[in-house]
């Protein structure tokens, strides 16, 4: 009875949009997992708020991807009816929540990137993407502030919070390189002025995170080796579990509404 996966015609622009939409959806879903479980009520609300911001970004990107593809798919089908190998998100965002420090370091790495990315994308020659960027940038700017303030307090807090934050930095560092990678499919979009070359924002990203990590009395991870694969559907074991929960209802009761 389970609904089968859809086929998506991944032209360069559709693929590009799916990659960004998947980043937002998967990270937003991860944050939603904290709902009712955060260390304090105030943070429970804050994490859910950020998750909802990301879900909103994902919806706009999926809707636009479906329109560009023009094959009768829509935001729900793209989110609920693609298998794990069809997902195009960064490996970073699918990493499990772990402890609060892991969640916050993951958020910090991604939000600093996303804010620089959306700010640059406001100049995209694609009017729809530029509009999505303008809205998303305001949200991501707050996500940067929220996660940065927590980085300072975790790093410069107690011995335990410091150790946990440092471990999270080491554990997640190898997933940060993928944010700045550019493949052949995206190169043409960069040349057309639709997309940006993410390598151009890496120096600023590195400077911002080094600055906060330093202020937090933490240290950057030393390794340079970077894990990749999410952009072409090679995911860690965690994404399949996440999707089985995210998609279970629509897979079991296709088209269910309430």
């Amino acid at each position: 009875m389970a609904a089968p996966s859809i086929k998506v015609s991944e032209t360069p622009l559709v693929l590009y949009l799916l990659r960004r939409a998947d980043d937002a959806l998967i990270l937003g879903h991860r944050l939603s997992e904290w709902c009712g479980h955060a260390p304090m009520l105030e943070e429970d609300m804050a994490l859910a708020n950020i998750g909802l911001d990301l879900l909103g970004q994902a919806r706009e990107l999926y809707t636009y991807a479906a329109r560009v593809e023009g094959k009768g798919n829509d935001e729900d089908k793209l989110a609920y009816l693609r298998d794990v190998r069809q997902y195009r998100n960064l490996l970073l965002v699918e990493q499990p929540n772990g402890d609060f420090a892991h969640t916050m370091v993951r958020q910090f790495f991604y939000s600093v990137f996303a804010d620089l990315y959306w700010r640059a994308m406001m100049k995209s020659s694609d009017a729809t993407l530029a509009a999505i960027a303008a809205r998303s940038e305001k949200e991501s700017a707050y996500h940067v502030r929220h996660s940065s303030e927590w980085m300072l307090r975790l790093g410069d807090g107690t011995a335990q919070s410091h150790a946990r934050a440092q471990t999270a930095i080491e554990d997640l560092w190898a997933f940060t390189g993928e944010m700045f990678a550019l493949d052949q499919a995206e190169r043409a979009l960069v040349d057309a002025g639709i997309a940006i070359d993410p390598a151009a924002i890496r120096p600023q990203w590195l400077m911002t995170i080094s600055n906060i990590i330093g202020q937090a009395t933490l240290a950057r991870a030393k390794g340079d080796w970077m894990q990749q694969g999410g952009r072409i559907g090679h995911h860690s074991e965690h994404l399949g579990h996440l999707l089985s929960e995210l998609q279970s209802l629509q897979r079991t009761f296709p088209g269910a509404r309430w």
Binding site: M40, L41, E42, E43, M45, A46, N49, H146, E149, R153
Partner: protein
């Protein structure tokens, strides 16, 4: 949960320019910066505000509920303190 590391803060929101900040609730946070962020996330999610104040709850000096009689009851019988004995000209409109 109240702990020594996350004291209580009172939150005041100004909903529009020209209006006063109004008390809207309280929250726990480790310091003023985090209290302001939490206030934004908890109390302005539906566009309720343009400005937020947070104040440590222990900075507020409150009247004692058991002194209600002495403090407030004497005012109840002084109706002459209400400006209800004046005729307000039409042109003044709502006061």
């Amino acid at each position: 949960m109240a702990t020594p590391t996350t004291p209580l803060w009172e939150v005041f929101i100004r909903s529009r320019n020209g209006l006063a900040h109004k008390h809207c609730g309280s929250l726990h946070a480790c310091d003023a910066t985090m209290a302001l962020q939490a206030a934004r996330d908890i109390f302005t999610r539906r566009g309720e505000g343009l400005s937020i104040w947070v104040v440590p709850s222990n900075a507020i000096t409150a009247s004692d509920p058991s002194e209600k009689g002495m403090m407030f009851e004497p005012a109840e019988s002084k109706i002459y303190r209400h400006p209800t004995f004046y005729e307000i000209p039409e042109e003044v409109g709502h006061m």
